[in-house]
Symmetry: C2
Subunit: 139 residues, 2 copies
DNA sequence: TTAGAATCTAGAGTGTGATCTAGGTCAAGC
DNA sequence: GCTTGACCTAGATCACACTCTAGATTCTAA
């Protein structure tokens, strides 16, 4: 953007958040922002730093597996102002549990995968790799 | 299924692996098995225990985020017999790295989310929750 | 022997989350 | 003034991984 204050164009915000401009417009259609994003006289979106901060949290929530639908619920709660903090808390606690479960699941899978890797590595190093897994699984 | 030996019907395998029968047929179309699944005279699939074991590993790989395309590459390597163990190892090592990275990412997000939870919890308990996040983000 | 459950194939449909297209409009620098 | 690049909308399309449909066939058990 450029001129006074700190209004940010959609391109600026895309750069700042890593989200594409298409994604930002999509987020807006989906009502994932905490407010109506204002426009210039010419109809262009003008974002503020708080929008960027919110998007950065959204990124964290999204990349930790929160679906858009849940993010939308959270955004709606925040948008509707003070008074529902217990609900927001419950939503975040639930998500925290989900993330912990996911980490546990991944860790369990990792152990199995690592076991396979160790086995293959040993066999490949020893040149005894034949029959690691063909008709009947061995490793 | 039921009669002699241990041939398993698609329904048996679905039960044993948690995959749906549709998914099993899909896997076959996608060449994700380590062999051609034999058929009865009537054209029904007859699976063996090794197929189930392979599917259980597939489940681990899938649920740890391996895309079907990669699983397919791995299956193709195993199917094409001994001699490519180094490639299989490389594929698994790569996936192991991916999973570790994912866990690290989730752990980082978790910390941030947990931070939010703690903040909200404190405010909700104290009844001082107002303004936690409205026009200007505070927490 | 016959009903009903399970299976078969080929192909269409679904949900999620973007991402892109077409056909413009707006704005900044030369 | 004009070029150029960023931006606009609405809607189509994509990728992934299933999941289901339709209509026919096969198997099992009463």
């Amino acid at each position: 953007m450029g001129r006074g204050a700190d209004g940010l164009s959609i391109g600026d915000v895309a750069k700042a958040t890593g989200l594409g401009v298409h994604a930002l417009r999509f987020f807006e259609r989906e009502e994932l922002f905490l407010r109506e994003i204002p426009r210039t006289a010419g109809g262009r979106r003008v974002y503020g730093p708080a929008d960027v901060e919110w998007l950065l949290l959204c990124n964290r929530l999204r990349e930790s597996g929160m679906p858009i639908a849940t993010l939308k619920r959270f955004a709606r709660l925040v948008r509707s102002g003070p008074g529902n903090e217990a609900e927001r808390l419950a939503l975040l606690e639930e998500h925290e549990r989900t993330v912990r479960d996911r980490i546990a699941e991944l860790t369990a899978s990792l152990e199995i995968i690592h076991g396979k890797v160790v086995t293959y590595r040993k066999h490949v190093e020893e040149g005894t790799a034949a029959g690691l897994w063909s008709p009947a699984p061995t490793a």
